[in-house]
Symmetry: C2
Subunit: 398 residues, 2 copies
């Protein structure tokens, strides 16, 4: 039997999936499991997008252009410009999810063996995308004590070698929920310019900024406009993860020409989903206001609730719908497994993602967990209560 | 400005796209252009699939499982077994088009620098998929004189090195329309077994077999059941190219586990499109009968018409909806460009794909073109007439 490739063997499994069998076993035993481990929001997709799917009158489901449906690309450019993000139609390739945008971006810019610097903790699937492109991730650690602010720029400097090709940021961040300030982005601009790197800015959570915080796009760093590749997606913005529609955006013509060849090889992104994504651009502001209000309420229940539990620390994020909390346990993965296997409070328990899987540096973030506040408020209240009770009785509490 | 990657620079552009600017210019001049160059059928998608899209009542467009919607995978397995193709649910990963299935398959099985043998002419995007996986294509030439039958197996033997990892076939073939016999597949089975290779069998045109020809699936080669990776797609079968739903199928557990990690990194294939693909499995036989009748009529008009033109030779394909014809010209690409730029017959002309782009061996197939019979019969009649008139006046006719 022929052997599989080194790449396939080394391809990392998602840290979110590791505990799935334990959760399934818990459910089989009749436990209610609050899933704080995944980023699938329960928010409804805007009606205008769903309607576009239901009311389509296509007779033949044809390919679209490889770069995406033109009217969608035009409308998407207008959308960005409404927020003063300078994006023209020709700067946009519609991709099959933000995932594909990042894969295209890495393959277009990096040679196998190149290095990309990423502040950790970071979205774990970046590991997979890097492996696909054959590039090595070099982490720069950010810390829970500062709310996961951008690490000092000297820490980036220290990691730059002749092989460094790019920096990737996620802003607002998954898993941290941290929103980078304009000043932080300008510091990144300086170092990117100095070393002539690419800057990947994953901005898929842009619409999830709270308490009046305004996101600052990397596309608004004119000094490095040819270095920036923005990654976007409709998955979270319109709660339509299953549409698999994203975008790769750059002013750099060479990058866009290179990426187009990858786009052409896979022919096109799904047609109906692009139609839905285009329609979603007409989502009324009231939808976003309602969603924001809901997420702020959820965040406050979760984060305030966590911080009230003795020994727990959770910085309040100003973006996205995740937070990272430090628990009074030595090994959060073991604790998460124990929660599913050996604990329940009135028949209920909690599933969280151990944060170590979001760090590239070994043995980092061992006490931390990532929580997604994508559940209804009453479920979050119950989940926090579960955690509180669990930490009272966990045998290995420190 | 940082440089793009070697991979992006070397990524091949599609041979079908090369002539697009000339076609656009021709249309601007008011010429009617018959597009025989592309594989986008004009056939309508089955109503049952379109209905599933229109009648869906999802409130939130969520991710599906990374391996695909379970009920779809179960039904798809049943579909294959109806044709005595032994596929179980666990042998199936739903992919975003056949393209993604092949990319996953190559990344899962091949290391960068490995070689894959492909009978040429072959589907040109295989070049892009190979480049993405970092593998080198080693062609074995098949010839128009034999209708593009499988080259003698000794020709494959000659090309096998320590780096050879797989053979890829497309059956029925794009661009040749050739349907491999059971005997040809058994020969492939022997060599695959002898050298312990993988066999990729791209069977996306399985339902397009004519004149009573019955396709023989590589999944029915029990001697190499752990070596076979079948590539499938709903694009052509149900004329739903824009759904971007395919499948990677194998009995090899290591391969499937490896591929699953790539599938998990990109989260899932589009949800609505999987629902449509599942519904499409209920397409009535009358749909296929009608489609087959139409394609046979089109093929006969095109191929018989071509063969009546002095100096033109076109073997009659028994599958898919392409054919390759040899023209009495030295350089078919030049002729195709001339057709668009300098020729018209009563205001009409023809766009074809020069076949050289489907060969990996340089300077091969220079006299050949690929034609797709995806147009209505009256258009095909006119297209053939155009070609006939063109060859009467083409200055470089040989």
């Amino acid at each position: 039997m022929p052997k599989i490739s080194v790449k396939a063997a080394e391809m990392p499994a998602s840290p979110i999936r590791k505990l799935v069998p334990f959760a399934e076993a818990a459910k089989k035993k009749g436990k209610i499991v609050y899933h704080l481990n995944i980023g699938q929001p329960d928010i409804e997709t805007p009606e205008v997008a769903l309607e576009a799917i239901r009311n389509n009158n296509l007779k033949t489901l044809e390919y679209t252009h490889s770069e995406g449906i033109e009217s969608y690309r035009i409308s998407l450019g207008e959308y960005y410009r409404k927020f003063d993000i300078p994006v023209e139609t020709e700067d946009i390739i519609i991709t099959t999810g933000g995932s594909e945008a990042l894969i295209f971006g890495l393959m277009t810019t990096c040679n196998p063996g190149d290095e990309i610097i990423i502040p950790e903790p970071f979205y774990a699937n970046y590991n997979g995308f890097a492996k696909i492109a054959g590039v090595n991730i070099v982490p720069v650690t950010s810390y829970i004590e500062t709310g996961f602010a951008l690490p000092p720029i000297e820490e980036f400097e220290k990691k730059i070698t002749s092989k460094t090709k790019a920096i990737i940021i996620c802003n607002p961040g998954n898993p941290t929920g941290y929103l980078y300030t304009k000043e932080e982005l300008e510091k990144l601009s300086d170092i990117v310019k100095k070393h002539d790197l690419f800057l990947f800015s994953d901005e898929v959570y842009r619409e999830f900024c709270y308490d009046g915080a305004v996101p600052f796009s990397a596309m608004n760093l004119p000094e490095i406009k040819n270095n920036v590749i923005m990654i976007d997606s409709v998955s979270k913005r319109y709660s339509m993860c299953g549409a698999r529609i994203g975008a790769m955006i750059s002013k750099n013509k060479d990058v866009m020409q290179g990426a187009m060849k990858f786009a052409q090889a896979r022919l096109s992104s799904p047609t109906i989903d692009q139609i839905a994504a285009e329609a979603a651009l007409k989502t009324p502001q009231s939808y976003f206001d309602k969603v924001e209000k809901e997420y702020v309420a959820r965040r406050d229940i979760l984060v305030d609730g966590l911080n009230k539990i003795p020994g727990v620390f959770c910085p309040k994020p100003s973006g996205a719908f995740y937070c990272v909390a430090k628990l009074p346990v030595k090994n959060a993965e073991k604790f998460c497994q124990w929660l599913l296997e050996d604990f329940d409070f009135e028949g209920q328990t909690v599933m969280m993602a151990p944060a170590a899987g979001f760090y590239a540096t070994p043995n980092t973030g061992l006490q931390e967990v990532r929580l997604a506040y994508v559940l209804k408020q009453e479920s979050l209240l119950k989940a926090v209560k579960c955690l509180e009770e669990a930490l009272k009785v966990y045998p290995e509490r420190i």
